[in-house]
Amino acid sequence: MPQRPFVLVLFALPATLIFLLFFVGPFAYFAVMSFWSVSAYRLTPGFDLENYIDVFTEYAYPLGFTFAIALAIATVTTTLAFAFAYLARFRAGRWGPILLFVTLITMFGGYLVKIYAWRTILGSTGILNAGLLGLGLIDEPLPWLLYNPGAVVVTLVHFLLPFAVLPIYGSLRGIGDAQLAAARDLGAGPSRSLVDIVLPQCELGIVVAFMLTFFIAAGDYITPRLVGGPSTAMIGNFVESQFITALNAPQSSALAVAILAVCAGTIFVLRTGMRKALAVR
């Protein structure tokens, strides 16, 4: 029986209000403020494009660097997450749910704990260097393991992996075993089944996983500061600098809007590309 429009609106109202109040409202405020200016710690309302000019001139390099490193993190994380979720769904049998449970458990570890754990692993006196020294494979600690962009990628991939596994596993659950059996009976190999049956049906899960990891990585400023070393400042560090140290909320708002635009553009390109690539032939 079709629902009455009034009932549909009533059901959608709480979620809509929350969305407007906590997401659209604050973002709209920052978007408006991004055209304002600051003088002697005092906000001056107006319409000035200078903040956006700065974003694409003075902050172009950190913005590009952040885009590149977030892209790398999201790609690696989504690929690993897909492999793990595929294993848990189709290959691990009764161990599948246990693997998923273990993935969920790691989310209780906390963000900072994982960062500090990787510092302990990768540091000059860390577990990895100590192990290599103990095995006689190196004569002195390898300093390049920590305080560089690679350490940021490793740390964030580890942190974000559970966030990516869950949506992909959820979409893989919707694929029936019968479809894969039918493909096999018709002569399709594992890779053909993967490309023609699995990937098209879990495209949304992959996009969601990529979005989550890309967004979080692009906005992060703690990880680069703690494991990234002197030359891995990401755009979040500049938002923090402008917002907290300079008290320049308009400039930091413009940076935030730019990050969001870059993220939205990336997701649009990804979604369009994946739809074309996975279109049923």
Partner: protein, 384 residues
């Protein structure tokens, strides 16, 4: 082992042992009594703590205000908001001045904040412990903490940004900031992510300008180039905080850094010492200020006076590893604190080793760099 009182599940309805029969009427009566009780207790609590003071300070500085049992004796509760940057206090006082009674602004910003009408001038008669402060500290703080001959902040501690080193590994004297750039410290040194101290320290070294908060744009550019070179070719990292520097020493990631005296105990077993290089060492003096719209000025005066009292000084100094400003508290300090800070020759120490900076320019004067220029300069260093 004591057995559970919960009945085992059966195939029929589960029977749970109850301690008292509960009817709808009983439940409503109970709820009413509970609500009345909660209201009464809340009322008693409010009556017991007649004064509520809102503090906006760095974490740990509240211990100075609370030192001893001052709050309990005076029926005061302290609502604390910890800051992540001193500028947050300016923003808060501008946007919601009644939400802050007492704060710990960065001392070079105090005269600016006073001129903006954000702070209340202090009546020193109501802070009797002020007269017990080390004269050297009062003299050093005077320019920044006064405006039109009135004090707007009361100094309760201070510290400096010396050259720190691992005393086990570094045996040669560290007399100049340039010693940090010796080849043996390549990849073994760090600076904090604190543009204020970095420019104050290295701006003086690079340009020779003795007022590094008032460098010209050319001098600022020169300092930026130097810092980028140092960052790319010499530093292990730029530490997220001063506390992080202690951790870097403890994990043997660094041997030298630009740090603060109170970082040394954070290095665990690594013996960290420090020197005050010949080019000078940046110093900061922390003071408590009263908001221009403080809800209860007398209560705030009492708290500030307590922060300068012997009890407040000892509590705050020992908790934070920071020095005292009240000479009367000296005999009660721990040996560690007394060994850390040069109380014996504090007069000459403040005049020879340390450097007190002035406020950055907030608006262009045609010659010197503004605060925005310094921030942009720091971001250039970060991005390079």
């Amino acid at each position: 082992m004591k057995r559970s009182k919960i009945a085992k599940p059966t195939n029929g309805p589960v029977k749970v042992r109850s301690l008292a029969p509960m009817s709808r009427r009983h439940m409503l009566q109970g709820a009413g009594a509970a609500a009345l009780g909660a209201t009464t207790i809340g009322g008693i609590r409010r009556a017991q703590a007649a004064t509520n003071i809102k503090a906006m300070v760095w974490e740990g500085y509240d211990v100075f205000l609370e030192g001893g049992d001052y709050l309990a004796r005076n029926d005061i509760t302290l609502d604390k908001t910890y800051i992540g940057a001193a500028e947050e206090i300016i923003a808060k006082l501008r946007l919601a001045p009644r939400e802050v009674d007492v704060s710990s602004p960065y001392f070079i910003q105090v005269d600016f904040m006073a001129a903006e009408g954000l702070l209340m001038p202090l009546d020193l008669e109501k802070i009797p412990n002020f007269k017990n402060l080390f004269p050297a500290i009062v003299d050093a703080a005077r320019d920044n903490m006064t405006y039109e001959d009135q004090w707007y902040s009361a100094p309760f501690t201070w510290a400096s940004i010396p050259l720190m080193y691992n005393a086990d590994e570094v045996t040669d004297p560290m007399e100049s900031w340039m010693d940090m750039l010796r080849p043996e410290f390549k990849g073994k040194s760090a600076i904090p992510a604190d543009p204020t101290s970095v420019f104050a320290t290295w701006g003086r070294v690079v340009t020779g300008n003795q007022s590094p908060n008032r460098m010209t744009l050319a001098e600022l550019d020169e300092t930026v180039k130097f810092l980028i070179e140092m960052k790319k070719n010499h530093l292990r990292t730029i530490a997220a905080s001063y506390g992080e520097l202690g951790d870097l020493f403890a994990r043997k990631e660094i041997l030298v850094c630009e740090g603060a005296e109170w970082v040394a105990p954070l290095a665990g077993d690594v013996p960290v010492k420090w020197s005050y290089p010949k080019e000078g060492t940046m110093t900061y003096i922390e003071g408590f200020s009263m908001s221009a719209e403080a809800s209860d000025p007398d209560a705030v005066y009492g708290l500030i006076n307590n922060a300068l009292s012997v009890e407040g000084q000892i509590a705050g100094a020992e908790y934070n590893g920071l020095p005292i400003t009240n000479a009367d508290a000296l005999p009660m300090l721990s040996d560690f604190n007394r060994a850390t800070y040069p109380y014996d020759n504090i007069e000459s120490f403040f005049t020879t080793n340390l450097r007190i900076e002035q406020m950055y320019l907030l608006e262009e004067d045609g010659t010197n760099a503004t605060w925005d220029d310094y921030i942009k300069a720091w971001e250039t260093v970060m991005a390079a």
